[in-house]
Symmetry: C2
Subunit: 223 residues, 2 copies
DNA sequence: TTATAAATTTAAGCGAGCTTAAAAATCTAA
DNA sequence: TTAGATTTTTAAGCTCGCTTAAATTTATAA
């Protein structure tokens, strides 16, 4: 390919597919923050080049070629994120934007060398799995959003959505990192927010934020 | 700035300034492999934006802002080269092209972190000095091209031009690396080529290549 | 000095990727 | 079922960075 714009489209499509593996042009336009008309335009090109299945007024699917390409972009992105965070010590709420630029400018050769240097990491700094050279990717661990937890449950943070603007920097402020234990002290019906305990401090977290933090429940030990 | 094309122009201008700190549009067009007309076009924009001093039909100069910008691009480029070669083990004849892409996609923050990680390298893998954060750069070491050596002189390779296509991969084939000692066995008048000894093997090197290899003479010990 | 060559600019035009506005198709809810 | 809302496409137009061709300026060499 060799085209930043087309790569961005493929990435955005892949990241936002619905349960049936499709995405509507309208949502894609919103994610890319461009007009619907521009999306229509580009879809014709991506279709012409064999990356998407596209028919007028229909939802968009990726062809298998498009999917491999998108998955490879995801691989590049996440490997760069690991490098930036782990090797260079960049905070996890900054690596997404930087990786977004780097992923367009690096050959597969660099990515493979980086992967080796990093000793084949399995997840990025936000807990998302990294596709291997052949596009194989571990399934996301079976996690639930914090909104799904009940009162008095404890859980361990496994993954955090890195796609939503400013979410991460807020999450960082209240002390959440991967692996951290949290305790649900209270769930507030009227706005869906959750009162959680982190590091012995109580924080009220809005439902929007809680729905983007994914955890594994910790079995309460019987005393 | 935030513009790959303009960054490429500034880099190319800076890298190819003549002794009086100027470059002609014609040469710039050749280096960038585009038409003279395109250069004229872009020069107006770079001038409008305060990066170059430009008057119709005159040679191009960089403003101080343009020079800082270009020097920073050089810094980014060379730090990436060191990383690719030293940390990832990429051959020195491949790092230039890869760094050319990465240099446009990395914030100063990444570059500064990389520099620290690499422990403040002074030269890139081809022996060129790396500007520091403030744009300060060690002078190139006082070297001479291999074409300047006389018969029976020994010398140590200090720097190699990384700008000329395919030069490096050829140089690598005949065994030249930074720090390597060479011995001038013969100079052939009729074509300017040089017969040099590397690792006890004799190689005839054309004057074009020899003029791009820079060395320090080694004082012959008196026996 | 001047004719010719070379360099540079101007002019017209092209494709990519975007925009807004209007038209057409599809969805949704009474 | 259908009217109104929403989504999608089409159409026209913009900027950017490039091209080729022609015009103009500058450099060179007889």
């Amino acid at each position: 390919m060799n085209n930043i714009s087309q790569e961005d489209y493929l990435s955005a499509i892949y990241r936002n597919l619905d349960d049936s593996g499709e995405i509507k042009p309208n949502l894609l336009a919103a994610k890319l923050e461009i007009s619907n008309a521009a999306v229509t335009d580009m879809l014709r090109k991506l279709s012409r080049d064999g990356f998407v299945d596209y028919q007028k007024y229909k939802s968009i699917k990726l062809t298998s070629e498009g999917e491999s390409y998108a998955k490879n972009m995801l691989r590049r992105h996440r490997i760069w994120e690991v490098f930036l965070h782990q090797t260079l010590g960049m905070p996890w709420d900054k690596v997404h934007d930087e990786a977004e630029k780097l992923e367009h400018s690096s050959s597969d050769e660099i990515i493979n060398l980086l992967e080796e240097f990093l000793d084949y990491p399995e997840v990025d700094p936000h807990g998302y799995p990294i596709p291997d050279k052949n596009g194989k990717m571990k399934k996301n661990r079976a996690v639930v959003a914090v909104t799904e937890l009940s009162e008095n449950e404890s859980a361990k943070v496994i993954r955090v959505n890195d796609d939503v603007k400013n979410l991460l920097s807020y999450i960082t402020k209240i002390g959440i990192t991967l692996g951290k234990e949290i305790f649900i002290k209270d769930k507030l019906e009227f706005d869906g927010s959750v009162l959680i305990v982190i590091d012995k401090k109580e924080v009220n977290v809005s439902s929007k934020i809680a729905s983007n933090i994914f955890v594994e429940k910790i079995q309460q030990s019987v005393r």
